[in-house]
């Protein structure tokens, strides 16, 4: 950070900063009790900003400086079980190392918030952005919200605490933002007032349902499951509870975004955003920071008389099935742009899930998978213009289609 130690950004009304610092500002506004950190590109500057804030006394939190991501998540589970608000951030190989305690967190219903500064996975060796890491963990049980802009990172990071800690949800949230393009992209952000954020979030209620607390002694995560006794029914009960929490989150995410807009004047699409979808014959589906260039391409095509629109996914977990099906019902053809690969389906994962949503429209339509932006590659307006043209020309033949690799010839 380049500003002086006594220059409290949390007291400012605006700043020009990178996406990782915007996330750190959002975290500081949420006043976590403990921040556990381990650096990994392109996430490192996020926890460096937080470490600096704590060192400067601008954030009153304990810094847990541990030996790796596995210890990060284990430590934070203890903090949450003791009632503390937590934060960490990771990506790529970091979340791979965190995986074992990471997948236990939703089942313990611990309302943590963690940034996923999305990075492509190894191998081939790379250190750049891509959404493969987040897509690999999409069935881990964490809520996933993908940001489009630096401002949305700040706002969503604060909102994530409200969503996670809602009594009807009680699930951990990953705020995902694209490595490189958003993590290091610098722009002006508006910073909400601390008192407003305090009032918006309210007091933290983290461990009312499961706790490490001498006054409420309990066994945390006792053995369930198996084929006898109460094992099968208890395991199913907890699994159904997790699914219910996820479905409740669809409502809570909408409510929280609406409340945020009313209070701070910035309305972000909570689940999906329909962009120029009215009277569109066909549409692109996007997720994350690529959406800006895609909207530019849609605007250009619209100006040239093309009836194209765009559906941006913000919340990917829980999957906004009803909203997605309603949007898809408006178009006749769809092209889905992924920044990751579903190896088993020879397509992108968002494409696969779009096909799932199409089932609920009762009307299969021609669809195609575009894969771009892998390992830091840029998806430009020109790439999107090509995707628009290909989608426009789609016709129904009922056979699986090869994906289009947008950066194949770059």
């Amino acid at each position: 950070m380049s500003f002086a130690a006594d220059d409290s950004r949390a007291a400012q009304h605006s700043a020009v900063c990178e996406g990782n610092e915007a996330a750190a500002i959002g975290v500081a506004l949420a006043r976590p009790d403990v921040v556990a950190v381990y650096p990994i590109t392109p996430q490192s500057s996020l926890v460096e900003h937080l470490s600096q804030m704590i060192a400067d006394g601008r954030l009153n939190a304990d810094l847990l400086n541990v030996e790796g991501e596995h210890a990060v998540m284990c430590g934070l589970q203890g903090v949450a079980l003791a009632g503390g608000r937590t934060f960490t951030a990771t990506c790529g190989p970091g979340i791979a190392f965190m995986f074992e305690p990471y997948v236990r967190t939703p089942g313990l219903r611990l309302p943590m918030v963690a940034s996923l500064v999305t990075r492509d996975l190894l191998s081939p060796q790379c250190v750049w952005g891509g959404q493969q890491d987040a897509m690999v963990v999409r069935e881990a049980g964490w809520i996933q919200m993908y940001c489009e802009t630096v401002q949305e990172i700040l706002d969503t990071t604060v909102m994530a605490y409200k969503i996670a800690e809602h009594r009807d949800v009680m699930l951990p949230v990953n705020v995902c933002h694209d490595g490189n393009y958003l993590s290091f992209g610098v722009t002006r952000v508006e910073i909400p007032d601390q008192r407003d954020v305090d009032d918006f979030l309210g007091p933290a209620a983290i461990n009312w349902h499961v706790a490490l607390d001498p006054s409420r002694p309990m066994g945390v995560d006792p053995l369930t499951g198996g084929a006898g006794g109460v094992g099968p029914s208890s395991f199913v009960r907890y699994r159904k509870g997790q699914c219910r929490g996820m479905q409740n989150a669809l409502r809570v995410i909408r409510e929280t975004h609406a409340a945020w807009g009313e209070r701070f004047g910035r309305y972000h699409a909570p689940l999906i955003e329909e962009y120029r979808l009215d009277h569109a014959d066909y549409a692109l589906v996007t997720i994350g920071s690529m959406t800006g260039a895609a909207k530019d391409a849609v605007d250009t095509a619209r100006a040239a008389g093309e009836a194209v629109g765009l559906i941006k996914i913000k919340t990917f977990r829980p999957f906004p099935l009803e909203a997605m099906a309603a949007a898809l019902a408006k178009v006749q053809r769809v092209g889905v742009v992924d920044r990751s690969v579903s190896f088993g389906w020879n397509s992108g994962p968002v494409y696969q899930e779009t096909l799932g949503a199409l089932h609920h429209t009762g009307r299969p339509i021609p669809a195609i998978s575009f894969i771009g932006g892998l390992a830091g590659a840029d998806i430009t307006a020109e790439h999107f213009a090509r995707a628009i043209t290909i989608t426009r020309e789609l016709s129904w033949d009922g056979r699986p289609r090869e994906p289009v690799w947008l950066n194949e010839n770059d």
Partner: protein, 97 residues
Amino acid sequence: MQRQSRDHFDASTIPDDLAPIATKLSTMLPGDWRSMRPVIDRLKCVKCGLCWLYCPVQCVVEKPRWFDFDLAVCKGCGICAQECPQRAISMIEEVGR
């Protein structure tokens, strides 16, 4: 076991489909599934206390001239017999339990 099973707080206020928790202790003890049991040779025992230190379930109990075992708790792992420098502990098979 009555004492161990008492309710410490009202867990019924917590939804039973959130985090898995247990608020009553199980009545099952490690000795319930033991296949071998330790037997002490009282003449060989010098009360060095190594068995007491090594026992993973803390079932070693002190007697006036030797150490003995709480067989309700002992799980029969045999670590005490392995570690005893006096070879005062032997493991015998449980039969007819």
